[in-house]
């Protein structure tokens, strides 16, 4: 499970990076970014998992003591909540820019855009 969860996280990150660098379509690049970010989130969540532990919501109010082994790590989860929200904000901005680029160049394809970009100036 150690190898599996970390390697899946790394596979996802690499896949996202691949899409961001090699895909020509702007929307596909943004999808690559989204997958990259979920890979990171999986990485953080896997490190905070505890075998046999329950979700980090107390089911009793401290009778008989609260033991940290019983609950999954809340800290990594908070960090990743932040990362998800940041991710969707970035995605929205990227989509808005892609929309504007389409409006001006009539394509999501990087090659077409670059060809268009060079013609009018310089």
């Amino acid at each position: 499970m150690t190898t599996l969860s970390y390697s899946v996280a790394i596979i996802l990150m690499t896949m996202g990076l691949w899409a961001m660098l090699s895909k020509k379509n702007l929307i596909k690049k943004l999808m690559g970014l989204a997958i990259f970010q979920t890979g990171i989130i999986l990485f953080f969540i896997s490190m905070g998992a505890k075998e046999g532990a329950t979700i980090p919501i107390l089911d009793h109010h401290g009778y008989g003591g609260i033991y940290s082994d019983d609950y999954a790590n809340p800290l990594t989860q908070i960090l990743m909540l932040t990362a998800i929200v940041v991710g969707v904000a970035t995605l929205g901005l990227g989509l808005a820019l892609a929309r504007k680029i389409y409006a001006h160049y009539g394509s999501f394809n990087e090659d077409d855009i670059l060809a268009n970009l060079r013609e009018p100036n310089e």
Partner: protein, 330 residues
């Protein structure tokens, strides 16, 4: 016992991600990305991260799919594919191999999955788990750390949503408003959609309010509730048509409300400054609320978060789908 399910999901997830990137039709790819998000939520739920799964379900599977579709709606879903282009792939290949190699090198040293005594699980988080209830009287540990111990992170993260709303509005807004207020394109929309959306939307809003208010005791809180509230508004906008949605809540009003949301958060945190306390130190309210001071303060800042996120999601959708003109859309 859950591990069997986890293993199955972990094998399935990269396959779906691969398919999403491989498909040469943007619309299909976006839809498959939604499925990928759903599966990812299950993986995280299995690891005990319910709040994260909740957020991802709301944000990843719900709202971002709608954002993608909103952009594709006015553009194209075709991908031009050029099999002869190798040079850029080569650079990407080198970068990815290097990146993957560096990451794998680091993995060999990491502690085992699920080890409760690894540094991450035995470090600071032990304090949170064992003392959070005594400190704050809130059983949801994620909410306590989110809205109290690391509150300033959350404030900045809410600010990020506000920034995205402002930025998208500014990027897409046309300098001159379109002259003709074109007729409501949704007027001849299907009766079933209109009726069912109108029926379901209040329940979504109610559920969103519940998620915000009940975040202390169950998974949920400002972000999740805010996204669900925003989704309810998006549903109304989809079924009633752009013109009525615009009448309901215009974008400038959204921006003001979103800024007010962050202002509620930061303003509540700034009150201690008057007593020369630290920013976001909720203990100054103990004279008013007694031992529940931190709990109630958390609820108030979560309301601020929910307001900003609701307006943020709805405003971003409205800007994207109508191309900034607020005239017609999905």
């Amino acid at each position: 016992m859950l591990i069997a399910i986890e293993v199955g999901l972990l094998i399935l997830v990269p396959c779906v991600a691969f398919v999403a990137l491989w498909l040469r039709d943007l619309m299909s790819a976006v839809i498959v990305l939604g499925a990928y998000s759903f599966l990812m939520c299950l993986v995280w739920t299995g690891m005990g991260a319910v709040d994260v799964a909740f957020t991802e379900a709301a944000v990843g599977a719900g709202v971002s799919t709608v954002f993608f579709i909103a952009v594709l709606f006015n553009t194209t879903r075709n991908i031009t594919f050029n099999p002869l282009d190798v040079s850029s792939k080569l650079v990407a290949l080198v970068a990815c191999l290097g990146f993957g190699y560096v990451l794998l090198q680091g993995v060999s040293d990491l502690p085992d999955w699920g080890d409760p005594y690894s540094p991450v699980n035995a470090g600071v988080s032990t304090y949170y788990i064992e003392n959070a209830y005594a400190d704050t009287h809130v059983p949801n540990l994620v909410t306590t750390v989110l809205a109290d111990y690391r509150s300033v992170d959350t404030m900045l993260e809410t600010t990020v949503v506000l920034i995205a709303l402002l930025g998208i509005f500014m990027i897409l807004k046309k300098d001159r408003p379109a002259q003709s207020d074109s007729s409501d394109t949704q007027a001849h929309d299907s009766l079933i959609i209109r009726l069912s959306a109108r029926f379901i939307a209040p329940f979504i809003q109610l559920f969103g309010l519940y998620v915000v208010a009940h975040g202390h005791h169950s998974p949920g809180g400002g972000f999740q509730g805010g996204v669900i509230l925003g989704t309810g508004l998006i549903l109304m906008a989809m079924s009633m048509g752009m013109a009525s949605a615009k009448r309901l809540l215009s974008i400038p009003r959204m921006i003001i409300l979103a800024a007010v949301g962050v202002l509620i958060y930061a303003g509540w945190g700034a009150v201690p400054l008057v007593y020369n306390g630290y920013f976001l130190d909720y203990s100054v309210w103990e004279s008013v609320f007694g031992s529940m001071a931190r709990s109630h303060s958390m609820l108030i800042v979560e309301i601020g978060v929910a307001l900003t996120v609701m307006c943020g999601m709805y405003g971003i959708y409205m800007s994207l789908v109508s191309d900034g003109g607020m005239q017609e859309g999905l």
